[in-house]
């Protein structure tokens, strides 16, 4: 971006305006969707690997072949899922009450 000249000023202003409105109108909303998406993924992992948490799973043996693709996500997922304490608070946290 060229900082000198009038053209540069408007370009700069447009850029900041875009970033500002993205932050105000979109990013926060997207965060809700993203949170929901990650929650959904956590649930999927729970269905796949519940036996890691001690819940019997009829299909665990076959789901091991998915492990190579999910390996990186397993550890943080385990930590998250074991730390779940209060589902309602967790759900409420994604809505902006302030």
């Amino acid at each position: 971006m060229d900082p000198k000249g009038e053209k540069g000023f408007w370009k700069n202003a447009w850029h900041w305006f875009k970033a500002f409105s993205f932050g105000i109108f979109i990013d926060k909303r997207m965060a809700v969707v993203r949170k929901e998406a990650f929650d959904e993924y956590d649930n999927l992992l729970l269905l796949l690997y519940s036996d890691f948490l001690g819940i019997p799973n009829p299909i665990s043996y076959y789901m091991l072949e998915l492990l190579p693709y999910l390996a990186e996500e397993i550890e943080p997922w385990e930590r998250r899922i074991q730390n779940r304490k209060f589902i309602v608070a967790e759900k409420a946290a994604q809505y902006d009450f302030d």
């Binding site: 993205f22 979109i26 990013d27 997207m30 969707v33 993203r34 929901e36 998406a37 959904e40 993924y41 649930n43 999927l44 269905l47 796949l48 690997y49 036996d51 890691f52 019997p56 009829p58 299909i59 665990s60 043996y61 076959y62 091991l64 072949e65 998915l66 492990l67 190579p68 693709y69 999910l70 390996a71 990186e72 397993i74 550890e75």
Partner: protein
Amino acid sequence: MSENQQKQFVFFGGKGGTGKTTCAGAFALKKAKEGYKTLVVSTDPAHSLADAYGIRIGSEIVSLTYNLWGLEVDAELEARKYMKGIQDQMLNIVSAAIVEEIKKQLEIAYMSPGAEEAAIFDKFIEIMEMVGKAYDLIVFDTAPTGHTLRLLTLPEILGAWIDHLIDRHEKARKLMKMSARYDEILKKKLEDDPIIRILHKRKEKFSFGRDIMTNGDLTEFFFVLNAEKMPIMETERAIAMLKKFSIPVGGVVVNKIIPEEAGPFFEKRRSAQEDYLEDIKHRFGEYRIAEIPMLESDIQGMVQMEQVAHILRNL
């Protein structure tokens, strides 16, 4: 085969100790003699097929006689191979540190109940795919009833489970995509989807197994029982179960029937046996019934197996 076309998959099941292996072995021998290229597979964790033939059989296919091959499935070995495959695959994708972390999980799953059944089922499908190419007919000598029924009903149950997983995955993915609208890195990550690919492949395998097992033109299930109360009851329950999962039942083999020349000591048992035989005819009348008398010695080795094969000629 006394009726319609030649089956490709024949299962022998029944209560423990009734003589499943002998019947399966003899039946396979008979088929081999008739000119079909036959593979006899034992899936019972306690293998006795090799003892029945008097020939060493292992987890690799060996030739037994002309047109006849044998295999004893080693569930533990199969499970280990499967785990090894996953570990190798994993090394290609993620770092070694994570592999170490995951190894623990693999061990847990390996010990979990059902792992052996799953491994055997995998092998089942692998073997079934061989029919038509290398073999005309495969005879399965299965484990005692409960174990086998669980195995055979596996695809039905797991198929539904996988469907559910695919739905879930698609839902999660849709949300992910939505949230990735302004996130280029996440977008790139979402482009390739190996998970759904693998789930679908699994599903296909299950439905392949199920299609074959419920196809009356391809598959037949035989129960081996003795003319005694408990085996009859168990067989009846097992047949009801197979019917529920629409697996075709071909007939029953009544084994170890005490012959007349057994002498006075067996007189009482023999008269009770008459009643049970009547009962069997009454209960399983809609299926084919073969009767094998108790022989002078236990059945072992090719020569005696051929004797039994001759008795089973009408099955």
